[in-house]
Symmetry: D4
Subunit: 140 residues, 8 copies
């Protein structure tokens, strides 16, 4: 990855649908060069995909919870992988924080969050503790 | 927002660059109807923008840290807003977890993270404590 | 619920036995209108009931403890429901705080609190940890 | 307080508007005896008042937060007293738990909770930290 | 217990071997009155015994540890009682702090403390976690 | 200190008023030898004093709190020393636990504990946080 | 150990390969005296060995983690001993901190750390929780 | 760094005084090649120095404390650097754990540790909290 790749990425992080012609113009290069570089970054896995940024409350999800999971160490990997299979769980990563598995869960309201956590996720074998923190407002 | 809007959003969350013609075909509707609905959701702020999903280690950021900030309550809002202005701070939100301000910071390595936190962010007036947790691996 | 309903509720939260005639007078409406609205709110479940506010130390309960319970996730719902059946447990709710089940327990003294927690509640299947915090003084 | 007082209180805790005639019948005593005893308990401060139990989500308060406050010790009493003056703060008590001042705050949504905590309460002199925990569902 | 009893106790808390004649003189009463009151307080269990206050480092115990124990709730009472039977465990009480069982353990050095905790106490059935805090210096 | 000293101490820890003649008989030595050894241990500071063990609830202290104090490091020593001067503070020591200063405080009830902590101790310069844990029952 | 031994140790702690002739010169003694004293300290176990101090990032270990382990008390000793057998675990000690077993683990990156902790160490029988903290920069 | 460098380092980590001739023999290479490689690693800073591994209790240090420091963010770097200047502070590093500055401090006993922490280190400007954890036994 050279500096031009980084600049292209910066544009796409800001606006994932920005036309390559516009990016090319701003970088004083050709549309085909931008296209080739983006394709290369997609093939290398630098770019993993494209997404839309949504306003979750406006979608009806009034409760977005960063939720940590504690597991028995021997169940850690299977729990992390099984969490990935749930539609309500939007993100899963491992971390050095208070909980080694962190997730982001979307729910319509507090009662639905309880049900997702305890009736669905809580039944995964090996989970010992679940710790949700509610996001109050996203600023950036 | 009706069910068709939700389905369109689901497609775009999976792939933010998916052509409207393909979405239209899968939903048995016209491209212009999809375009109109997407435009409406953009105007209403349901769709806040588009982005690219990147592999941070492959970009050279070996240290991605979910970093909590504690502040004096009277400085809370100004700190949260000032954090948004730093390029290294990719996300900022308020939360009911251990720290009321949570951020995501990208750094080349541990030493750079120290420098960002203490030489740059730590100088914002009103910050009392900074608690970084390193993301080890993103699974979803 | 309109603004008049909210005002009636405000009066009743202050004084749950306030006569409807007095409420009607203060809101410039008729007693039958207040009665009808209250009945509607009772039917809709906005009003769940009426209660008396007591001074627990004067009743002989020198120890009122906000007590958190940790459970295995798969036992969470059954534990929460079983806690509701104990007379000493006055409130039960689920929360995003340090403990996902929070209760309020009344006891004559510290020794009785120990006995309630360990000889009675502690025997519910699935409880892993019990964390009481004593209320020192209620100010509002 | 004798046993009959305790029984009267039990009835009123269940239903604060229960007519004295019904209580009298169940306790095999006269309505005037119940009335006298209740009046005595009101004068002694055992009964501090009457209230209505509401369903906060149905009232439009989707976020009810048990919120702890840390203060400098010398500001503890003034902070606790000032918190009592805010309409949004429904309960205030001192506790041996993680935070010596605990409150219950009602808000329409997460954003309003942020604003109450930081724009209003956070400006009280002497507060060092604010820790909200969201009530997901009240079971009893 | 009247005020004279409290004063006698205050003298004995300061100096548990203080002769009754001296206490009597300071309280303007007779030695037999003091003796009778002390005997009464012993019979009532107000006075549970007499002890000597020692300097543990000078006795060769360089490590005195306030040690908390977490247990499964159903094993709480049996663990607390079994801890009382160990000679190295000088005090045992139940508490609302971070650990519901708190003890005081005396050891010659850090290695001996490890051995007491893990080879002896750790084998009591039902203990889940042991948390020692070393007393650095006793000031009062 | 030799083994005989240790045995004498063991007797006195059990019963601080045990007559030297009885100790002498059990150790097959003379009363004067015991007296000499005890005097030596008093002079060396191994024995710091004698005390009476009391049942605090029976004395009217329904709330005994192990209370931790956090201070600014530069005020640590002066705070610890000033805490020693309060009659309500029965013990003071420094520790490696969650709070570097730990105390034992006796109070008639929760409200008095609040007043001691905030109206008296909280005014010592340099204290940042006060964390009381209530002793529920002393078992040994 | 006398003062001269301490001074020799100080030199060797600074530079473990410092020739004995240089140490001898600085202490105004003979090389053979230094050699004899060092040998004595090696035999007594005061000196446990010699090592090289390395820059772990320059060796390719970008993630060095101080990692705490919680175990069931009865498995504590076997877990601690088994951890010592892993090549990736550079240090193991028992501590009064938040975790009674502390280790230092070296890994190439976050993903490798996850794998070491969960695929290797996590399979040791008796481990309940693993808490890594990443060292950002070593200053001394 | 190639594989041969890594093997040389492994030998030196085990025994920092191992003669190069022995290392050369085990790696089937010449002493001058080992010497050259070691010199190169010293110049590159991979090898930062050599040290002796000591048994701290046998040296008279009965208390070795891993001690965390919390600071105001703006004082973080100056505190970390000033801690490096104290002889009693053997290691200093920054970390993502509970405390961003971690140190290792050696003391003769608990009382000396108190004095080092509060009379010496605690006076560094900007330190807010000091958290020592005592190492009980080093196993590796």
């Amino acid at each position: 990855m050279d500096e031009k790749d980084m600049k292209i990425l910066d544009f796409l992080i800001q606006d994932g649908r920005k036309p390559f012609t516009e990016i090319a113009k701003e970088l004083n290069t050709s549309e085909s060069s931008v296209r080739k570089r983006v394709k290369k970054m997609e093939e290398d896995g630098v770019i993993k995909g494209y997404s839309v940024m949504v306003d979750t409350p406006k979608m009806g999800y009034t409760v977005v919870a960063q939720t940590g999971f504690d597991t028995n160490p021997e169940d850690f990997l299977s729990v992390a992988q099984e969490l990935c299979t749930f539609e309500e769980v939007k993100k899963v990563f491992t971390s050095t924080g208070d909980h080694m598995i962190m997730t982001e869960i979307w729910a319509k309201n507090g009662k639905e969050l309880s049900e997702i956590i305890f009736n669905k996720l809580g039944k995964i074998k090996g989970i010992k503790k679940v710790c949700p923190a509610i996001i109050l407002e996203q600023l950036k």
